[in-house]
Amino acid sequence: MSTTASVTPELSNEEIFRYSRHLILPEVGLEGQKKLKRARVLLVGVGGLGSPAALYLAAAGVGTLGLVDFDVVDATNLQRQVLHGTSAIGKRKLDSARERIEDLNPNVKVEAHETPLTSRNALEIIGTYDLVVDGTDNFQTRYLVNDACVLLGKPNVYGSIYRFEGQASVFATAEAPCYRCLFREPPPPGLVPSCAEGGVLGVLPGIIGTIQTTEALKLILGIGESLAGRLLLVDALRMNFRTLNLRKDPECPACGTHEIKELIDYEEFCGVRQAAAADAAAQSAVPEITPAQLAARIARGDDFDLIDVREPHEWDIARIPGARLIPLGTVVEALPTLDSARDIVVHCKVGGRSAKAVQQLQASGFRKVWNLAGGITRWSDDVDPSVPKY
């Protein structure tokens, strides 16, 4: 692939020594290392996938790394986002990333874009780079990155993860299919849980992120056979790697018919706004009780039932004393064991699943049912900090 800068950079003696294990690889050599130095790579997201990608691209001597992120380092990130350390908790991810990258390889220029990637800024930001590594965590940004890369003709090195499984490919090179050729439309919001909801094995983004990095380096160096036109499926539990053939869809609106001539409203396309409004309406429609009010009822010795609709593995982590576990999926079969004459308070982790449970109970004729606002998480914040948050 051709890189945007035309001047061939020279390597200093320090760089020649640093990159010696690359330079003695005939497939890389001095010319390859100069290509890496000349290259401009954009990482969209410096979280699970972006962490190993940033580290290995910087270590490899990629000259300019653009980073797009607007998040702050949280303790729950550290189980997998190896770019950030404990001392970075509360810092902007871009600041933490810049410090780590500059320490790893001061020859790398870091360009920080502290903004969500949107339809308004994506073409401008992506346009100045040679290729994109997609490490985002939501469907709307994935379709946005895809369409922007197709419109600009920039390779999109794709990876995504869920629990123990990952996918990787290279989209939008001259001959390759794009993300829309694989998945024409996103699933409706809420159908596929996020890593925050479903969990992810911490090392999995390490596997997939380093595969993306390998593909990015191969594209820059112009060596090997890329994943363009193939989809790699990784199953870490079975330790099974499999590639499937990806075909360019002649009816693909992005790279087939080219009916997508400009970036669209991706939140609308993915149904995100509509789903958020529906969730808010559903939650506000059910009667609520705050953790402080619930604590007062418990302290008064009121007679009521407290139902926890989370899953058993969440119950093992933390629980509110006196609660009874009835996972959301089993509420209907548990109905005969519940007494509609008694007051019932329902809770989950943050209040979404319990709102659904309250609605199910109301639909079955229960009238005295309340949802615990903010769930066990807010209970820990407002009432009992000894209850761990997760």
Partner: protein
């Protein structure tokens, strides 16, 4: 025809296992056989009309069935059907 079906973990919890045996002459028949045995899994495999979703891709051996006749694609003994759902974690 006896076909082996591979489910991703996100769907395997709705069946007994991530690897299932099924029967049929076409991909659609193989999927309906599974849908009949696992009612919770059924709506995640195909829509109410019995058609595939745009966000779940079926691979018969190494090929995307949308290019070989979708659910009408014929299957033979020993074929492998892999279900690839859209995931977005990063």
């Amino acid at each position: 025809m006896a076909v082996t079906l591979f489910l991703p973990t996100v769907l395997a919890r709705l069946a007994d296992s991530g690897t299932l045996r099924s029967e049929g002459d076409t991909v659609g028949e193989v999927v309906e056989n599974i849908a009949g045995r696992y009612p919770d899994l059924a709506p995640r495999l195909r829509d109410e009309k019995g058609d595939p979703y745009a966000f779940v891709t079926f691979y018969l051996n190494d090929e995307d069935i949308r290019f070989t006749g979708s659910f009408r694609s014929p299957v033979k003994d020993g074929d492998e059907l892999t279900i690839v759902p859209a995931i977005a974690g990063g």
